[in-house]
Symmetry: C2
Subunit: 288 residues, 2 copies
């Protein structure tokens, strides 16, 4: 496995692969890898085959964090990530630093952003208004540097995957976006690098997000009529907040194509939620 | 010369050229071509050589026009443009329509924009606040479709060229941007497709923009001290507006790297201006 830290070197390598028709599979991450990320690497390998190359990037992108958020405390462990990537058969680990990604000369600061104005409204962006602008900008940059044929994103970040797919379509990026299923702990908690930040007690309570999804599924399946979304939200909020460390940020039911909220929860609708467990904000989602 | 109207076909062609290491030179235009555009085609050919390909796009991009602007009356003449491109040795003329560039399904409208937030402030954007957002978005799309090694822009649109160069750097687009000098009529008027919209009397008065540039150069050269920009602006505005059909939109003196206005006009500073001549808005610029 080759480790590349320079944007120019990564792009040269990618352009060479493009010329040789070597398919490139790409998994952009913020590091602190877990089995969810490794499943994305597997999907990337599956897409490009043996003669293709799989690139994983690790970059905790500052522009997708608000000043009040956990950029500084976001977990990092590069040696561990290196080993996991090597074991997973990754060909190139791309690990740029901030000066590589956002070079700032005094006379020419970074000033170009990619913004998606439709799917990036509501849900995550209600609490994190500049988050998706940071995501689309860094993903566009990474796509231009790594020049992948296929890029794999996790379904845990459902809205992010939808926004990235829309960006790819709108800007005519020649990249196929694959969304791979969420990987869960035995009790159902969605794998996330942020789970590391939970205390033992918080970890036990964090399963509330998944339990809320299961409860919503059961309610919808058991009911002969669609359920008013507002009533179900209240019930699920109550369910989650019975755990002392848990506070709901949002619960939403929506059309999985348009991300438009629906007034009634029924089978086929999608549910997403965010909750604070102690000082850690977790998200999850699933189809009902 | 091949004419391509489909985005998918153009991108397939470009990806094939990338794989064959065929250099691609690209000249994005809004059509109604004149000798200025043809000089850009010459630069593109010079950059990619005989074994390279030169692509010209013709697309009057709606997203860079405000609803009040001249999108509908912008001059168009495809048969004439085709002949000019053929004679200039263009390999591919890419002529997408709006449905190709901004496909709008009911459930998934176009919603992603590229925005440059620094160089695109002031001057052109003061009168045309959403103009550069439209330019950067369509140029990013065209770059992703045509995948050029070199793209050539005209110096007449000085701020546009600066914004595009910044976008290319910030988003890591692997494209070399070349800016080619403004081509002028015998009397100094900068070539522009919009000159077609001028009446004979307006055409005679339109030379005022170039005369203001020459006057500014002479004033700066003749003076032992830098000239307060505000004083020079007043004098030039008066000079231009002595023509009955001419009204100044802005005159600006600025640092050509940062586009920051300077308080004093001196040699090496850059000057740009926009003026209405009748109902047509013209721009010009030059180094003093």
């Amino acid at each position: 496995m080759r480790i590349v830290t320079s944007v120019a070197a990564m792009q040269r390598l990618a352009l060479k692969w493009n010329q040789r028709r070597t398919p490139i599979g790409f998994v952009p991450t913020m590091g602190y890898l877990h089995a969810g990320h490794i499943s994305l690497v597997g999907k990337a390998r599956q897409s490009v085959g043996k003669r293709g190359v799989v690139v994983v990037s690790i970059y905790v992108n500052p522009t997708q964090f608000a000043p009040t958020e956990d950029f500084a405390s976001y977990p990092r462990d590069l040696p561990r990530d290196e080993k996991l990537c090597r074991d997973a058969g990754v060909d190139v680990l791309f690990v740029p630093d901030d000066r590589q990604m956002y070079p700032a000369r005094k006379s020419a600061l970074f000033s170009t952003y990619v913004v998606e104005e439709c799917l990036s409204r509501g849900m995550e962006s209600a609490s994190r208004p500049t988050h998706f602008r940071g995501v689309t900008t860094v993903v566009a940059k990474l796509f231009n540097i790594v020049r992948p044929d296929v890029a794999v994103f996790g379904a845990k970040d459902f809205q992010q995957a939808a926004v990235v797919k829309r960006m790819v379509r709108d800007l005519n990026l020649p990249v196929k976006v694959v969304v791979a299923p969420t990987v869960r702990e035995a009790d159902g908690l969605a794998l996330s690098s942020r789970n590391k930040l939970l205390s033992a007690s918080e970890r036990a309570q964090a399963v509330a997000l998944w339990q809320a999804i299961r409860q919503a599924r059961q309610t919808v399946l058991a009911s002969r009529k669609p359920i008013p979304a507002s009533r179900l939200k209240c019930a699920l909020k109550w369910l989650i907040e019975t755990r002392p460390a848990a506070r709901v940020d949002y619960i939403e039911f929506f059309n999985p194509e348009t991300l438009q909220p629906v007034a009634e929860a029924r089978r086929g609708a999608h549910m997403a939620l965010a909750a604070w467990v102690g000082k850690t904000r977790l998200i999850d989602n699933a189809r009902l």
